[in-house]
Amino acid sequence: MADRKISDLTALTAPAAGDYLPIVDISEASAANKNKRITIEELLRGAPDGTAAAPSIGFESDPNTGIYRPGADQVAISTGGTARLFVDSAGNVGIGTTSPNQPLEVNGTIRGGSYQFSDSGTSVASYIGFSNSNGPTVEFWGSASANSGSLLIKTAGTERVRIDSSGRLLVGTSSSPGNGNEKVGISSSADGIWIDATGGGGTGIVIDRTAADGDLINFLQAGAQEGVISVSGTTVTYGGGHLARWSQLPNEQDPSDLLKGTVMSNLDEMCEWGEEDNEQLNKTKVSDIEGDLNVAGVFVSTSFSDDGPLDYFVAMTGDMIIRIAAGIPVHRGQLLMSAGDGTAKPQDDDIVRSKTIAKVTSNHVTCTYDDGSYCVPCVLMAC
């Protein structure tokens, strides 16, 4: 074949792997050896490994930027002579790291407008996690449910907070602990909410019924409503309860055997809680004087706290039951006074006196004790 200029050759517009590229080797002495060739496939597959500083596939004007092979079954990209992106033999991609342990591992900050995490299954959860060498620290999980979406926050591998598909904020539970209408649900075997009002001003809790009169707080026991605080116009109603205060028996006696509704009498001795200040709470005893003028109220229950059983509630004013001795009849509307044995008995008249402790509100017998004494509903009066 006669000599031809390269520019005269037909350009390959769609080269196949086996197409040849001519090479003129000017180092050869004989003309017969100057003409060499290489296939396109051989040319593209024949790159040396290169390094980050001198990638084997690069640019003439920027020789330290390009693609190179850091090791067997690996490929990497460097810029400015520094390795930037790795694909290891397992297919894991590392950015800023040469040893990615996940399909994508980035050593640095990821920035973007939006990210989507999804899986082909309908019940598979996706999450963004933070961890250290001790394990997961914080994780944000997407829904693990087929038909609804929830946002979960976990710490130390345990769910703590959730916003469910209805927008309800849940703490300590994954489902509504209430009637399903609440916007915030909390389930806790310990303290539920603790508010430190740290400022000199402000209010610990504010509840504002902005649209209409109604309930502010409902009090339930085992799902049954036992009391309520409501607002109507300019009036706040505390419904279904009484006012009570803490008290203690003298000489550190255990009050566990006291019966609910027992009439208690004031003592001068003050309650003691270690070094805790106590300005107003005095100890009480079972009333032992008929017509006792120093009635404190009636026994409700011992302490519910872990601090000890020595403390108990004494109901002073409001709805309560009161204990009547066996065989002593009482009727609705009667005023009661201390009978001198822990029970109450009707006054001789219907005049409210210093010794008056309650007014019977119903003839219904709430409970009867082993000693035959019984309790009736009453309104405690200014004990």
Binding site: G121, T122, S123, V124, A125, S143, A144, S145, A146, N147, S148, S150, L152, A156, G157, T158, E159, G172, T173, S174, S175, S176, S187, S189
Partner: protein, 101 residues
């Protein structure tokens, strides 16, 4: 120290009303070693069964707990709760101010 008892409970189920397909179960696990208690909770989703779906009315807590346990790493969860009990018994961390005693 007595052995720890792990009690699994189903707190709630979410289902499709059309056929009773339960797609989410909310569960709780209580760990109690006789002195200390710890707990965990969460929810798990279920794929619609291709056949033999148990009618919703026939489901029992034991059945659903079985489903939940199948999909969770029970050993890992109970180990984590045991660690919490151990931490309560022998705390490795504390908070407080020495000048506020």
């Amino acid at each position: 120290m007595s052995d720890t008892v792990f009690t699994w409970h189903i707190a709630q189920l979410e289902r499709e009303t059309a056929d009773g397909y339960v797609f989410t179960a909310h569960y709780t696990i209580d760990a109690n070693d006789g002195t200390y208690k710890a707990g965990a909770y969460g929810s798990i989703g279920f794929e619609r069964p291709e056949e033999d779906m148990i009618p919703f009315a026939d489901l029992t807590e034991e059945i659903v707990i079985g489903w939940v346990k199948e999909r969770l790493d029970v050993e890992q969860i109970e180990a984590a709760l045991q660690s919490q009990l151990d931490e309560q018994r022998h705390p490795s961390k504390a908070s407080g101010l020495p000048w506020a005693a």
